[in-house]
């Protein structure tokens, strides 16, 4: 049904989105917890930086990444010299671009989820011998899990759809950085590419619907497992 080129774009997209989500998950969970639970100097700054990619034209973060992580950028140059890692115009760079753009969509639901969890439960855990880290892992995180899962799916979906930042930072190289949206864009601009563009567009819609359905299903399952659905109103 799909041509080899189309399959390649699909596989690459899945790989990039999965890697970006895995990269965002630990960082985003921590950032969400931090923003929900702690008051600290520079909190507003952190919030702004986290949200920024959502409100900027995507090409701007992409351009900033190129300046910073490109082979001639300060960090990119250092990465290449020290570890031999090249991000610009490689699929790894596409992961970074996707991760930066999708990060806010993970942090937001995670933050809300942690805010709903009663902070006194973590206090109760520490009076029973749990270190703050252990209380986080055994009490706060399991209770916030529905939000974390929903955030991870949003993050994955946003990564699948990433276009502007990817194009600016890593270009549109078949087999390396040409993900689904870039492939659709390319097919739109070649003669007789309409069929392929249409197929990939339909595929994107199907993937988005599946992701949203999975998000709903996992959230409901987690809520049921945590006992939220037995008694919807939390008891005081």
């Amino acid at each position: 049904m799909l041509s080899p080129d189309e399959w390649q774009a699909l596989r690459l997209s899945a790989k990039v989105a999965l890697c970006a989500t895995l990269l965002c998950l630990p960082l985003g969970t921590f950032a969400g917890w931090l923003l929900a639970r702690r008051e600290f100097r520079g909190k507003l700054l952190l919030e702004t930086v986290v949200q920024l990619p959502m409100v900027l034209p995507p090409v701007v973060p992409g351009y900033a990444l190129l300046m910073l992580l490109g082979t001639r950028g300060p960090v990119g140059h250092w990465l290449e010299q020290t570890f031999g890692i090249v991000l610009a115009f490689t699929w790894k760079g596409a992961v970074i671009a996707s991760a930066v753009m999708a990060f806010p969509l993970l942090v937001q639901p995670v933050r809300v989820a942690f805010r709903i969890v009663d902070a006194r439960l973590e206090q109760a855990a520490t009076t029973l011998g749990a270190t703050p880290w252990n209380a986080f892992l055994t009490v706060a995180l399991p209770l916030a899990l529905p939000g974390v899962l929903a955030g991870a799916i949003l993050c994955f979906s946003r990564s699948l759809g990433e276009f502007g930042a990817t194009m600016a930072f890593v270009g549109n190289i078949p087999g390396e950085t040409r993900t689904l949206p870039l492939a659709i864009y390319s097919f739109m601009h070649v003669p007789d590419g309409e069929g392929a563009a249409l197929r990939l567009a339909a595929l994107s819609i199907a993937l988005a619907v599946i992701a949203l359905a999975a998000s709903h299903w996992m959230t409901r399952r987690a809520e049921r497992r945590l006992g939220y659905l037995d008694h919807p109103a939390p008891r005081a």
Binding site: D118, R120, L121, Q123, A124, A125, T126, T127, L128, G129, A130, T131, P132, N134, T138, V139, P142, L143, R225, L226, G227, Y228, D230, H231, P234, R235, A236
Partner: protein, 212 residues
């Protein structure tokens, strides 16, 4: 056993109090807002004093002069909250064993069965906290604290959310815990009769101060 001299401020509220508390059960009684819960949170290590010291059984838990602060999870002081604060995602059994599993085996004084029998909660072990009545929830909270084998048991209005009939049902359990475990207890309540029923000695608290 427990002696402290604590000073703590939050906005308008000021707590400044000293006391020597002996073994057995001690009651602390006073109107809402007088600082009872704050005092327990300071003893448990959930809040930090601005100035002062606290010594329990010869061990310095807090001393602002020498910058000693033993964190809550190393104090082995259990706190039973007004609303139980059971972990909603864990079964009653896992709630009961939460502190038990975090206590060194040689320091454990009770086993699950003993405590479940004492508090008559053996039939509830497989349930979720959401499936418990208010009275059952408080008994589980008490059991969870006991199974941690605390050196000191702090009770912060454990019966306040229950109606009178349930209070009368739970009080004997608390008395049983006091008589059979010999764990020193600090019992905070605004109801004098509750405190008198349980505690050998009662301190009144007013506006952030303990009075004899």
């Amino acid at each position: 056993m427990l002696s402290f001299d604590l000073e703590f401020r939050r906005g308008e509220f000021r707590l400044h109090t000293t006391a020597d508390i002996g073994a057995g059960a001690t009651g602390i009684c006073g109107p809402s807002g007088c600082g009872k819960s704050t005092l327990l949170a300071l003893i448990a290590g959930l809040l930090r004093v601005d100035r002062g010291s606290m010594i329990f059984d010869g061990e310095t838990l807090v001393d602002t002069a020498t910058r000693v602060f033993v964190p809550a999870w190393q104090r082995h002081v259990a706190l039973v909250f007004q609303d139980g604060q059971l972990f909603p995602h864990l079964s009653v059994e896992d709630n009961l064993l939460y502190g038990y599993r975090r206590r060194a085996p040689q320091a454990r004084r009770f086993e699950l069965k003993q405590v479940a029998d004492l508090l008559e909660i053996g039939s509830l072990l497989a349930r979720r906290p959401a499936q418990l009545s208010g009275g059952e929830r408080q008994r589980v909270a008490l059991g969870r604290a006991l199974l941690y084998s605390p050196r000191l048991l702090l009770l912060d209005e454990p019966l306040a959310s229950l109606d009178d009939r349930l209070k009368q049902q739970i009080l004997p359990f608390l008395k049983r815990v006091k008589d059979e475990t010999a764990i020193p207890m600090l019992y905070v309540s605004h109801t004098r009769s509750e405190v008198d029923y349980l505690a050998g000695r009662t301190l009144a608290m007013e506006a952030g101060r303990l009075l004899g």
